[in-house]
């Protein structure tokens, strides 16, 4: 900022200039935020299963947990009267790309205590499987289906593991992965051909729902008349 009085002729209000830029928020020393009561309780209760803890965006507490014990930890967070995270606000995943693990993110909110907590579980790309929490929160049913659809994370014990946004026979992979090209893996012509060939009556009969195989993506190789027109999306 122009120091007032340094130049009496520069009193015209010009607003700040780019050269006035100071340090950026992330370079600034992090403000000491209040400790989160649930984090200490989690450490006491689960010990090693709480892998890490960090504070993001000033006051948002994030706890990294062991993916093998996610249901155990989350059901404790939901049921324990001191925690009572009864509202699963969101369940999603983040792929940072470059072979880094995919994070499954649970946004928890406790309606009685008015407290938020973010729980993350990191899954290496080689074993993208985590236990489903649809038994704890019914809303996790669709949210987990979406994560499975978009990232290819397998939710063990999910009651209805079908794709949700993409068609059931979608064979191009998982759209929100970083290695997935923006326009898809197949050419436009192939994408159109597959869309037209689809028969909406094939799927979703209630009678079939019981014994459906939890197979999320039809393998490309299994498709008979596929002439592997892949990777031609630059048209």
């Amino acid at each position: 900022m122009n120091k007032a009085g340094s130049n009496p002729f520069a009193m015209v209000d010009e607003g700040p200039k780019p050269s006035d830029a100071t340090v950026f928020p992330e370079d600034a020393p992090e403000a000491a935020s209040a400790p989160h009561p649930s984090v200490e309780a989690l450490r006491d209760h689960f010990g090693d299963a709480i892998v890490a803890h960090e504070v993001c965006a000033g006051d948002q507490h994030v706890v990294y947990v062991d993916p093998a014990r996610n249901v155990e930890i989350l059901s404790w967070l939901k049921a324990d009267p001191g925690q009572h995270y009864d509202h699963l606000a969101d369940l999603t995943a983040v792929d940072y790309g470059g072979g880094r693990p995919i994070q499954v993110v649970y946004q928890l909110w406790s309606i009685p205590h008015k407290r938020a907590l973010r729980v993350k579980a990191e899954l290496p790309l080689s074993e993208l499987e985590i236990e489903s929490v649809a038994g704890l929160w019914r809303c996790a049913d669709w949210l987990e289906r979406e994560v499975a659809d978009m990232f290819g994370v397998v939710f063990a014990g999910h009651p209805d593991p079908r794709r949700i946004l993409m068609p059931e026979n979608y064979a191009e992979g998982y759209p929100l992965r970083k290695d997935f090209p923006l326009r898809g893996r197949f050419s436009r012509a192939e994408q159109t051909r597959r869309a037209l060939r689809q028969n909406p009556e094939d799927d979703y009969f209630p009678a079939e729902m019981g014994d459906r195989e939890p197979q999320l993506v039809a393998s490309v190789a299994d498709d008979e008349d596929d002439e592997s027109e892949e990777v031609n999306h630059g048209d």
Binding site: P25, D86, H87, Y96, R138, C139, Y204, P206
Partner: protein, 425 residues
Amino acid sequence: MATESAEYAVSRNPEMGPDGSLVPSPMDPFDAPEPELGSETMLVNVGPQHPATHGVLRLVVELDGETVVKVIPHIGYLHSSFEKLGEYRTWNQVVTLTDRMDYLAPLIYNCAYVMAVEKLMGIEVTERCKVTRVICMEMDRIFSHLLWLGTWSIDIGAFTPFLYAFQQREKVYKLHEALTGARITTSATRIGGMMADLPEGWTDGVREFIDNLPATLDEIDGLLKHNAIHIGRTQGIGQISADDAVNHGLTGANLRASGVPYDVRKDRPYYDYETYDFEVPIGCHGDCYDRYLVRMEEMRQSMLILRQALDRLPGGPMDVEDPRISLPSKTDCMSDMESMIHHFKLITDGIPAPAEDCWYSVEGSKGELGMYVVGDGGPKPVRWRIRPPSFVNLSAIAALSEGHLMADLIVINASLDIVLGEIDR
């Protein structure tokens, strides 16, 4: 005449025979055995192209007679992967994607997104901007609820409220247009401020809108609230208890109709909502009728907030005075070299965000609207996730409608107030 021939002379009512005895009509299966009923269920496809589905929603319904046994919703017909598209755009460019999701309340989406990004970047917006965004969000809450009110009454079988509601909606469309130049795809916000300051006389337009709205609401309420058909169609239909509603992740009016007073504006106040004087209406039965009452009252409360916000709207700058975030004025760009360069750099490079993540939720018109933004130090998001309230609300439709009649399924669907653009994203 053809019907006089013996072939057509079929008596449809019991008649007296020549001897005075009752001659049964041939239509009466008086001694036919009772047919076996209820052994088979029928599969009915609803949608995706049907006005009662409020968009391209497909419901496969298993029916036993007229009773719904099972509902399987299919979504994804509008899927455009906005979240993926956002990863290829700078933080400011994503704003245009947000209003294309919930086109019934676009300003709430514009605001919620930039609020999340500002929280991630640690930007505090100006007081004028905060109040302006509150006005925008409350106006669009009414805007969205009016559409719900119109379509809801059509689904019940009443056409008139639809016309009254859309007459008022048109005024909000005009206010959108005056503010942003677009009626639906507003894209009104920018990181650190708004697209432009409020046009002259705009606040008077908002005042006029909220001055005229109560009469319309009273008129519609008078048509529906004590209407025997409306009550018969909605009371006790699609009932859900408070615990189940929380467990299903319902938010917004759908949750509050079940008696849970969870409102993000009250429980996690943003933009000084704690200083506005308003009530959160809650229901006690959790059925379709209570959802109607809650939404009607929410519109009235939003008008209260709007009035207070318009009264306290301060002067001063709209955008933050930080040259790394806000664009310089056009006049400066044309007269000052440094501003020109700076404008160019901001547009081409974008604004970097720290390598952190941030969850921010606001009370949208459909429920809790969450934005989860993940940065990596660059000008584009690594991940941009929307917590779509309609998506989660719709997932409860199967549980809500099982055991009810097919016609009630349409009412339950209408009472959830969904928008498919947001569900499929």
